[in-house]
């Protein structure tokens, strides 16, 4: 297997703009009351965890050239419901059921995309409606309220940080190793760079795509597990804005939406950056609406920057 091509050639402007942005952020953060406190650092990491875990999984899918999934929130919701519904069988069983559900639902979509070349956007819109509709149908819109609370341990903290933060770090390391130390991971970059060429070269495009989506499904399920534990019950709308939040974190991290470029560590950085900016705005008294607006601008800037880098690289 060949090594992953390293792309360089970042222009001065390409470096100056993000660095200037970072300097502004550091300046704002440093002069924001209570930003530089241990409690606030913990809060930022804690608020990064749920979206971050899903975003790490979404990174593999995007690198492998499958774009984005628009069925993420619905999948997280259904795994959360399975997790809470199986509490009476013990925590390990409940987590296993949730993860298997997430992997099965998502890998199936990956198979249709990888083997039958379905458009990921169209397919995942359909999957989102199907999963969301089926969840509403079977649950009748009623929340899942477990009698047994095995999940309480997942809300605990270790060294002041929620368990979910450690899982985020673990998932990031696992994704990084998968992408850079395994054949399937390296093939994800190649498939994402040029699917047609990868197929012509005899790479197992279908299998690689399924592996990326299966990993993503496991990550969504873990987010569902933590969301369910945090909220102590699960409604059909539990997934909330997870779909777009995860995509935003991946894009802000600099992963190319067209595939072939990016990393799990960058996505972790993107998720933390969004959380830091939201935190600074909140501490400075800006409303939720302003936070969402700034997140949108940030995503747009990241996409433009990645596009410009890619365009320059081709010249």
């Amino acid at each position: 297997m060949t090594a992953v091509p390293v792309r360089s050639g970042i222009s001065a402007v390409g470096l100056v703009v993000p660095l200037a942005g970072l300097a502004v952020l550091v300046g704002l953060a440093g002069t924001t009351h209570r930003f530089l406190s241990l409690d606030n650092a913990r809060a930022i990491l804690a608020s990064t965890a749920f979206v971050g875990i899903t975003a790490i999984g979404a990174t593999l899918v995007m690198i492998a050239g499958s774009g984005v999934s628009l069925a993420t929130s619905q999948t997280a919701t259904v795994t959360a419901m399975f997790f809470l519904s199986t509490q009476q069988y013990g925590l390990v069983t409940a987590v296993t059921v949730a993860v298997l559900t997430g992997v099965a639902l998502t890998a199936l979509q990956g198979a249709v995309i990888g083997y039958w070349h379905a458009n990921p956007i169209v397919l995942t819109i359909a999957a989102g409606f199907a999963i969301g509709g089926a969840t509403t149908w079977f649950s009748g819109g009623t929340p899942v309220n477990p009698e047994v609370r095995e999940f309480d341990v997942l809300n605990s903290t270790v060294l002041g940080l929620p368990v979910a933060v450690y899982v985020l770090l673990g998932v990031t390391v696992l994704a990084h190793l998968t992408l850079h130390r395994t054949t399937a991971g390296r093939q994800m970059y190649l498939v994402g760079s040029n699917r047609t060429a990868a197929r012509a070269a005899g790479l197992p495009v279908g299998r690689v795509t399924v592996i990326a989506w299966a990993f993503f499904g496991a990550c969504i399920a873990l987010t569902g597990v933590f969301l369910a534990s945090f909220n102590t019950s699960a409604t059909v709308t539990l997934g909330g804005t997870l779909t777009l939040d995860a995509i935003a974190a991946v894009l802000v991290g600099g992963t190319a939406i067209t595939g072939g470029r990016g990393s799990a560590l960058q996505t972790l950085g993107g998720a933390v950056l969004i959380a830091v900016i939201s935190d600074v705005l909140l501490l400075r008294g800006y409303s939720t609406g302003v936070q969402i607006l700034v997140k949108g601008i940030l995503v747009l800037a990241a996409v433009v920057a990645v596009h410009l880098r890619a365009t320059r690289g081709r010249r």
Partner: protein, 335 residues
């Protein structure tokens, strides 16, 4: 099996008819309003909250069940998307039903459709949340008492802080969508009662958009912002917003309950009732979908049978704390 179901249904209807014959209250089946025969052939368009929302799901279920025996036809046009709701309302209008039952998602967006309904002579019954004041006279309504729900939340906080012997205290508030009148009315009631206890101060109020995940994130950040000594109480506008506050506080090392952070909500769900029983949620309030669905169904029967109910009715809300939680546990456990 099918025949058995029919027999059971007929028996049930007979029992309901006889059992509720002398009961003019709102807790029985809506057919008790003596309107079954004259409602056959009439049509209702239910442009309500979608069943993906637990509150909406139970409201729709109870409302439909209450009216099934009357013979009225109910067209399900429910949704949780404000834009789709406007479209569905317009579709309902084109069908010329005898009544449109409307649970509003976007107050402003529904102004023009309501005016159109008035011009077309199709009556509209708004349930749960109020319409924009400019069209309030154009609809009938069965409304939750949101101002009182906000008052109850403030009472819970004041009572909880006083019970801890605190002479001062800081409060954070996570609201529902601020542009909604429901949210504004709750804050109006909340602020009115909080003004009677100026020693307790709201230090932060954030729009959490009725979103549990967002509520958790904002709570984590606000608790870090103010620190353990800087927040003594929190108000999450619904149970599913208050519970993430509790989890965020626990993870940030805040004590909860009797000697810790006083957390309250203002409309009940089963998970909230469990938290009140566990001593983690100081209190909540009813606004349960079952009660308002029954009253809305009863109002519908009275209207469609020509009994001319008052233009607007308000559902009686109840405050729920550890002292009376058992009394409301069943009522609050359907969503």
């Amino acid at each position: 099996m099918h025949r058995l179901g029919l027999i059971a249904g007929a028996l049930g209807l007979t029992l309901l008819a006889t059992g509720c014959g002398s009961n003019a209250g709102t807790t029985g089946n809506a057919s008790s309003a003596d309107g079954s025969s004259s409602m056959k052939g009439k049509t209702i368009a239910l442009v309500g909250y979608g069943s993906s929302n637990p509150w909406g799901a139970y409201f729709n279920k109870v409302f439909t069940e209450q009216l099934t025996s009357t013979g009225v036809k109910i067209n399900d046009m429910t949704t949780m998307d404000p834009g789709t709701q406007v479209q569905k309302f317009n579709q309902a209008l084109a069908q010329k039903p005898d009544l449109i039952v409307l649970a509003i998602l976007d107050t402003q967006a529904m102004v023009a459709p309501i005016k159109k309904a008035k011009a077309a002579g199709v009556p509209v019954l708004a349930v749960d949340g109020p319409t924009d004041p400019s069209v309030a006279a154009d609809v009938m309504s069965v409304l939750s008492d949101n101002e009182v729900l906000g008052e109850y939340a403030a009472q819970n906080i004041i009572e909880g802080l006083k019970a801890q012997g605190r002479e001062t205290g800081n409060i954070i508030v996570l609201t529902g969508t601020k542009s909604m009148l429901v949210t504004q009315d709750r804050m109006k009631g909340f602020n009115k009662v909080m003004a009677t206890a100026p020693q307790y101060r709201v230090v932060d109020e954030q729009d959490a958009n009725w979103d549990p995940q967002l509520s958790g994130t904002i709570a984590q950040q606000l608790l870090a912002k103010h620190g353990r000594d800087g927040v003594q109480a929190a108000y999450g506008m619904a149970d599913y917003m208050a519970l993430p506050i509790i989890q965020a506080a626990k993870q940030a090392g805040f004590p909860i309950g009797k000697d810790g952070l006083v957390v309250t909500s203002s409309n009940c769900f089963k998970a909230g009732i469990d938290a009140v029983k566990a001593g983690e949620l100081y209190g909540t309030a009813t606004e349960d979908p079952g009660t308002i669905a029954k009253q809305s169904a009863d109002y519908t029967v009275r209207f469609l049978t020509g009994k001319k109910p008052p233009q607007s009715e308000t559902v009686k809300e109840e405050r729920v704390t550890a002292a009376n939680v058992d009394q409301f546990a069943e009522q609050c456990s359907h969503a």
